[in-house]
Each structure stands twice: as C-alpha cells, then as structure tokens.
C-alpha cells in the first residue's frame, strides 16, 4: 500500500502526458473522422473510395504496428518527426478511421426521407447536414464515439513503447526502482479505469440528454 502512495507523485507527470496525448488525438480524430465519415456517406465515389481504403487499412492494422510504422518510416522518408508526434499521428490516424465509421453509421441510421424532406423545402447540402441530419445523428453518434475516446486513452499506453513517458512508462519506471510490479500495475490499472469509467458514465448522461425522440 505504502509503495502505491509513494509512487503517485512520480506517476503524476505520466498521467498528464497520457491525458494530453489522448485529448489531442481525440480532437484530431473528431474533426477528421466526422469529415471522413460524411464523405463515406455522401461523397461521390472518387472521394469516398480513398477514404474507404484508408479507413479499412488503418482499422485493419494493430495499433502498435501503426505506431512503429510512423516512428520508423517517417525518418526513412527523410521526414523528421519527434517520437511524440509520431505516436500522436499514428494514434490519431487509427482513431480517425474508427470515428469515420461511427459517423458513417450514425448518418446512415437517419431515414432517407429526412434528406428528401430537407431537399423538398430547398435546403442546400450544408444546411441539410447542419439543421436536419447532424442533430438527429448526434445521439446515434455519441455512445460509440465515447467508446473511441476510451479506446484512445487505453491505446495511448502503447506510446510508452517509443519512449514517451506517459502513465504506462511512468509506472514501469517506478517498478524499475522498487521491484514491486504487482501493486504498481494495479495502481496504473486503477487510474486508467477511473478515467475510462468516468467517460462511460458521461456517455450515459449524454445519451439520456439527447434522447429527444421516442422510438
């Protein structure tokens, strides 16, 4: 027990890095994912097809291979990226693909009659998205999207493998000094759990908040 308490200050910095990386990745993936998901659903084939290929590849690879790929391939291509950026962009690429699919699913769940009704009163594509489709798709989007946020926090532990001192690596460093792996891994797991459990509770609240249509 004592070793856990003593370790906390050392883990603090790592926790901040984990949260920071997660927040940046979630923000990038949200913007790009919604854009790509909209393209997957509505864009002409020549736009949708590359997005589809990207999404299938990014989701089809283990996250760790994606991280190593960016980490080692970028320098080989003479692009200089820090380990931090390599990790963030790999994670973002991975999560963007997932958010794209979540977006596509949410948009496709909206009855085509909604698009037709919007068209019939003369709304442009952007207006239909903004006032008709997105507001309805939001509640289908939120629960699976929070899952991708949780996945991001968990996935961010892998950045420790390219030497970024996040929560995971901080735990391992303390273990390296104390030789007490069990209590420290339990502590690390507990912190991850608290973050993610909070997120899924938040998801439940949001779901209730946006349940304005009875089915």
């Amino acid at each position: 027990m004592m070793v856990m308490v003593k370790a906390l200050p050392f883990l603090w910095q790592g926790l901040l890095v984990t949260l920071q990386i997660s927040a940046i990745v979630v923000a990038i993936a949200l913007v790009l994912g919604v854009l790509f998901g909209t393209a997957l659903t509505y864009a002409p084939r020549w736009v949708a097809w590359p997005v589809r290929a990207y999404s299938d590849i990014a989701r089809g690879l283990p996250l760790i291979t994606l991280i190593f790929f960016v980490y080692y391939a970028m320098p080989a291509l003479k692009v200089n990226v820090s380990g931090w950026w390599a990790a963030v962009s790999a994670l973002a690429a991975f999560e963007t693909a997932h958010v794209s699919e979540v977006t596509r699913g949410a948009l496709q769940s909206i009855h085509p009659g909604q698009t037709e009704a919007g068209r019939a009163i003369g709304l442009s594509f952007e207006q239909r998205m903004l006032y008709v489709i997105f507001p309805q798709a939001l509640r289908r989007f939120l629960p699976p999207w929070i899952n991708t946020v949780v996945d991001t926090v968990k996935g961010s532990a892998l950045v420790s493998l390219v030497g970024i001192v996040d929560l995971m690596l901080a735990v391992q460093q303390v273990i390296g000094r104390t030789f007490q792996p069990l209590p420290l891994y339990v502590l690390g797991a507990a912190i991850y759990f608290v973050i993610n459990y909070t997120l899924s509770q938040l998801s439940r609240r949001l779901e209730a908040r946006f349940a304005y249509v009875r089915e």
Binding site: A117, R119, I121, G122, Q127, Y131, P135
Partner: protein, 261 residues
C-alpha cells in the same frame, strides 16, 4: 405571376426514366395549369410516384423535359450544352415546389412550428418573428394552433401529415406535390388530412397528387390521369375517367380498387 400565365404551370413532355434494366417511365406527357388540381392514379409500378418525384428532382430523369413555370427543372442549357443541374440550382428550384410525403418525413427533433419555420428561415431567409408568424398562421389553418410546440412523436399520424402540409405550403410554392399522403394513415385519420387538401384546392393552390383514394380524386380534382406501364394511358375529367371506361387496363384497375373497399 410569370409572363406566360396562359401556358401550363407544370409541363411534362416525353419523360423517360430507367432504373437499370427497368424502364419505369416510357414517355409521360402531362400538363397542369395554374390553379388546377390533377390526380394521378394507377397500379403500383405504373410509375406515378416516380413521375411525381421527378417534378422536384428527388429522382433524376433520363430524357424528356419537365417545365415548372417556364423553367426546365432537371437540366440547363440546350442541345450539346444540356447538363444536369447542380445541387445549388436545384435547391433554388425546389424551394418553389412544395412536396408532402407518404411517410410525413417531419424533422423529429423539431417542434411542429420549427418544422414549418426551417425553410422560411434558412431558404427564404426571413427573420425569426416573420417566419414564426407565417408558421403559426399555417398551423392554425390546418387546425393545429394548439400543437405548435409539440414534437412529431407527440402527434397522431393525421396531425403529423397536416404539419407536413403546413411545412410545404408555408414556403408559398408555385405547385404542391402530394405523394400518397394518406396511405400511411389509419382510416379514421384520412378525412382530416383530405379536408385540408380540399381547402387548399378551393383556395386555388395548384396541385399534382398521387393517390389511392378514388373518391377523393373524383371530388377534388379537375382532371384525373391514369398511368399504366410508365405512360399516361387515360386522362380526363373525373366523370370521363371514372364513368364507364372503354380502356381495358383502367377498368380492371378500378375493379380491383372497388374490391378492396
């Protein structure tokens, strides 16, 4: 009023459309004059709904033309320069063509009033108060003044469809398209919706409607059009169409409808 008010408001000429191998419209010709109510009847698969949806380009058409108030809706340019209109041009054209749907298609996240206001605000670009007043006036006209703050799921089918009508007519369209608007309603709710349409007809609203309600088609329309196999097979006054037709397919269609009721 446009310059050529003597010409038909809606003029469909040799309209053709195929879905893959299936040619659903094989040269439809149809005119609707200003203030006229035209009902289109016919068996499922006769192409009547597809034809109607072509008028506001919810379906594209392959050849032929549809003129609404002198403007070709689906294409611009002539001859080799002829090309399909883009989304933006279509949005402008559609704003002047009202449509009421079989499944209502109300926006479920918006109240009755907001449903009617959306097009007024975002397409007509009216201010909030003006749009709200127009919406409230139309909701009162269709008998739903007290339901304006209700969400669609709180309304009965008949009430939802009346909001659908209010949403379409509030835009002050040149012509109103009605696509089997009572087919999804419980029988006891059909009357309230048809009464609204009757009133619009009395007010001189130009309407093109697809319906299975023969008695309604008979008493509301100036002209009834019977479509069969992607063409207009018979058209005339209700009396001409419903009163002892020599046309074989129309006779058997009407007989089948009779049997159902």
């Amino acid at each position: 009023m446009s310059a050529n008010s003597g010409a038909p408001l809606v003029k469909v000429c040799d309209l053709r459309k195929r879905f893959g191998q299936n040619e659903v419209l094989r040269g439809v010709d149809l005119d609707v004059t200003r203030g006229e109510v035209v009902s289109v009847i016919g068996a499922s698969g006769s192409g009547k709904t597809t034809m109607l949806r072509c008028v506001n380009l919810l379906e594209t058409y392959d050849s032929g033309s549809i003129m609404v108030d002198g403007v070709e809706v689906g294409y611009s340019g002539e001859g080799p320069a002829r090309r399909r209109r883009g989304e933006r041009e279509l949005a402008r054209i559609r704003a002047d063509i009202g449509m009421v749907f079989q499944l209502f298609n109300l926006f479920p996240h918006l109240t009755a009033r907001e449903n009617v206001m959306l097009g007024l605000r975002k397409v007509r670009r009216l201010g909030y108060r003006e749009a709200r007043d127009i919406a409230d006036r139309w909701l009162a006209r269709v008998g739903l003044a007290d339901k304006r703050d209700s969400l669609p799921y709180e309304l009965s089918g008949g009430q939802q469809q009346r909001v659908g009508i209010a949403r379409a007519v509030a835009m002050n369209p040149k012509v109103l398209l009605l696509d089997e608007i009572t087919s999804a309603l419980d029988p006891e709710l059909v009357g309230e919706v048809l009464n609204v349409v009757r009133e619009l007809a009395a007010d001189g609203m130009t309407m093109l409607l697809v319906t299975h309600e023969m008695s309604f088609a008979r008493d509301v329309s100036a002209r009834v059009v019977f479509m069969d196999a992607g063409r207009v097979a018979v058209q005339g006054t209700p009396r001409e169409v419903f009163g002892g037709q020599p046309h074989e397919r129309l006779r058997s269609f009407l007989a089948r409808i009779e049997m159902r009721h």
